[in-house]
Every structure is written in structure tokens, then in C-alpha cells.
Symmetry: C2
Subunit: 232 residues, 2 copies
């Protein structure tokens, strides 16, 4: 796609689309685009339109959308439920790459070994939007507020509910085994892994143990490896 | 492994192993370890030993190695030949995660669309060492100096020589197809992809085109996805 590409959740609601201020500034000040020029816009819900700039001011940019193309929903629904990371840049890196790879849903988990911290959902949403645009996708992944592990595993299970952990376990199947499956959730543990009690709890709730290879991975690396395995 | 774990290429050469200064400082100042305590040491060539501290000073640490355990070489030889990234922190992330995942060899490529820059091989070696230790592995990946694309593709081919690119091509096979293979090299292109001429050149040299899924990936994301696909 050659056109500069932006996000506007209000796409399709009116014949006049006012862009959010930071985006407006980027279009008019950084890219120096002018009235009459065109940009691509997605609403993050599968819809895309080529839009024409009708107002281009310092902090204001208004577009006239063209026809809205609706892209079909993805075949797969991949959910990564991943322990909150204390290191914010590693967490952001994970969200960026997992979004590029095409994960549909993220659930930050509070596990026994998770260190307490503030999770800036709004900031992480910004990371997801940038990554969606960067990788030219039209659907924004869902991002939950952090949820305690024991609550999340009681939620209704997808077709394939998996827990990736490092404890020795002959029952573990390589995650690659599930590559072709369409509805998968994988639980990824904190540095130091899930506790044996958490693993038992998850298995009792219906989660199957999986392996992500033979090396010891950081949490965010495990998350990206799972995303790559299930999405590419 | 419970013991703090360090790198010393000279392991096995003598009954008295002097640690490099930064490592010495970490052992004695940060971890505050003392004479008589033990650490794990690898030489990055598959060898590991539990060593006892015999000297612990501010900038000096000497160990007495125990028996040296030789770990067998990996079954797989995965090489990622990846276009140099202008953004150093993205390049470093890539090397860190790809090492954790178990890639054996890295070749930074200078492609047509690569932006000119300095590649700090010594700094990147440091990243590889930390990642090797973090993931409790005993083999340091090889890291070449940057090499021009057209030179690299003329080198002898491994069993499976693959080029990942974004051009539409019915010949492309998903990289997942090669997951079980033991000797694989994958070429990963720059932002903006390999040029059509480069792709043709590689195919003529014997490289087969592969796909890394249907979304457009940043270079470092493509590299990690390839590593996850082939190593886990």
C-alpha cells in the first residue's frame, strides 16, 4: 500500500471524518500533506477507506472518506494471555511484535510470581495501533485490563486452551502441533514460570501443557515465539 | 540451574581461571560473592564447569574450575542472514531473542536497500553472550562481520537455503514446512524488502522462496518469527 495509513475509529460514521489531534499533526506538519491529497484510513474493525483531505491545519485535519471496503474477519482467533512484565519496554516490544504477527487478543495476567505494577492500558493501545498500521492490517487486537490468573482460567475455554511452562512434564506437546488450529489461547508465564499450583489449576480447568522448545525463554520471547508459531 | 552463570572463553585451559574485569566486578561487587563460593561457567563452545572462587577482589576474580562437562553439539544448524538494521536497539533485540531461541549463526547482510551504518560487532557479541547466559545455553552463536548480499549467496549452500520475501510469488512455501529440517539458512530482507533483482539472484544461486505468514513484518520481527519457526 503506497498511501500513508492512519487509524480513526469513527470511520464510516459520517461524510466528514475529523482525525485525532496527534494524527492531524502528523499528516499536516510532519508529512506536510495538503487539501486534495489522499490517505488510507482504517477503523481497526476490518474497514478501510481511501480518504481525501478537506481541511489541513496545524492541529486539525478533516477527511472525506471514499467507499469503505470491509475486509473479512480473520480465519483464526489467537489469544495470548501473558504474565505482566515489570520491564515496560519489554512488554511494549512484545505487544508490538505480536500485533505485527497477527494475534487477535491479549490478556495481561497477574500471576503468583508477577511483580505488582501499574499497567497503562491506554499507552499499550497506542502501541497496538502503531503496530497494526505499520503491518498494514485492518483489525486492532483486543486488549483486556490485567486479570488474575485464577479468574482468567475459569473463563469459558476456546477450542484449544494451552499453557506453556518450563516444568519437566512428559505430557507437554510442542506448540507447533497446534499450528493449523483456528481457535487457540496460550498462557505464558512470568520470569520464574508459573508455580506448580498454577499449572495444576490450569490443567484441572482444561488447559493442556505445551512446550516452546528446549531453551529457556524470557517471557516476552516466549510470547513472540508462540505468536509466530500460531500465526505464520 | 541455581548457580550464577558466567562466560569465560578460557575455561579448561588452566587450573586457575581469571575472569574478565566486568564479570569480576559483577561477581564480587554486585553479587558480593566470596572465596569458597561457587559459580557456573561456560566457554560458549559447549563446555560447562562449576567453579570455586579462589580470589574475590574489587576488579579481580579468579576461579578454580571443577570437572568440565562437555555438552553435545546441537542437532540443528540454523543460520539467519539478516539485513542490517539502521535502528540499533531493534537489531540488538533481534540478536538477543534469536539467541535465546537457539539460532546457531548470524550473518548481517548489506542489501541494496540497507542504509549505510557502522556495525559494532563487539557490542553485538556482548548481547549474544548475555542472551546465551540468560537462556542457560552453552554455545555462543557465530556472528560474522557484515557481508554484501551478492557475496553471501555465492557461498556454499546448506541443505536448505531459503529466502523470505514479500513479493507475490506462487512458488513461496510457508517456512513452517521446514521446521523439522536440521540444516537451514534463511535470508531476511531490509525494511522495503529485497529488490526483485536480489530475489532472482538468490533463486538462481539455489535459494528457495518462503513465506512468513500473511502480515507485513518488520525486519527484526521476521527474523524472530523465522527463529521461532525453525528452533522451537
Amino acid at each position: 500500500m503506497e498511501l500513508p495509513f492512519f487509524y480513526a475509529p469513527a470511520l464510516g460514521q459520517s461524510a466528514s471524518l475529523e482525525m485525532e489531534e496527534d494524527t492531524a499533526r502528523h499528516i499536516t506538519q510532519v508529512l506536510r500533506m495538503q487539501v486534495g491529497e489522499r490517505v488510507g484510513v482504517t477503523d481497526g474493525k476490518g474497514n478501510f477507506s481511501e480518504c481525501t483531505i478537506t481541511t489541513a491545519a496545524k492541529r486539525k485535519c478533516i477527511l472525506m472518506p471514499g467507499s469503505v471496503v470491509q475486509h473479512p474477519p480473520p480465519v483464526k482467533t489467537i489469544t495470548l494471555a501473558i504474565a505482566l512484565l515489570k520491564n515496560k519496554s519489554r512488554m511494549e516490544w512484545f505487544f508490538e511484535k505480536a500485533t505485527e504477527l497477527g494475534v487477535q487478543r491479549f490478556v495481561p495476567l497477574i500471576t503468583h510470581r508477577t511483580e505488582r505494577q501499574v499497567f497503562r492500558t491506554d499507552r499499550m493501545e497506542g502501541i497496538l495501533i502503531s503496530a497494526m498500521l505499520q503491518s498494514q492490517q485492518y483489525r486492532l487486537p483486543e486488549l483486556s485490563e490485567p486479570v488474575p490468573f485464577s479468574n482468567f482460567i475459569q473463563e469459558p475455554l476456546p477450542r484449544y486452551a494451552l499453557i506453556a511452562h518450563c516444568e519437566p512434564d512428559e505430557q507437554k506437546i510442542p506448540l507447533t502441533h497446534y499450528q493449523q488450529e483456528q481457535e487457540v489461547t496460550v498462557l505464558i508465564g512470568p520470569e520464574g514460570d508459573f508455580t506448580p499450583a498454577e499449572i495444576t489449576q490450569a490443567i484441572q480447568a482444561g488447559y493442556r501443557p505445551v512446550s516452546l522448545g528446549s531453551t529457556r525463554l524470557r517471557t516476552e520471547t516466549a510470547g513472540i515465539a508462540a505468536a509466530a508459531c500460531l500465526c505464520i
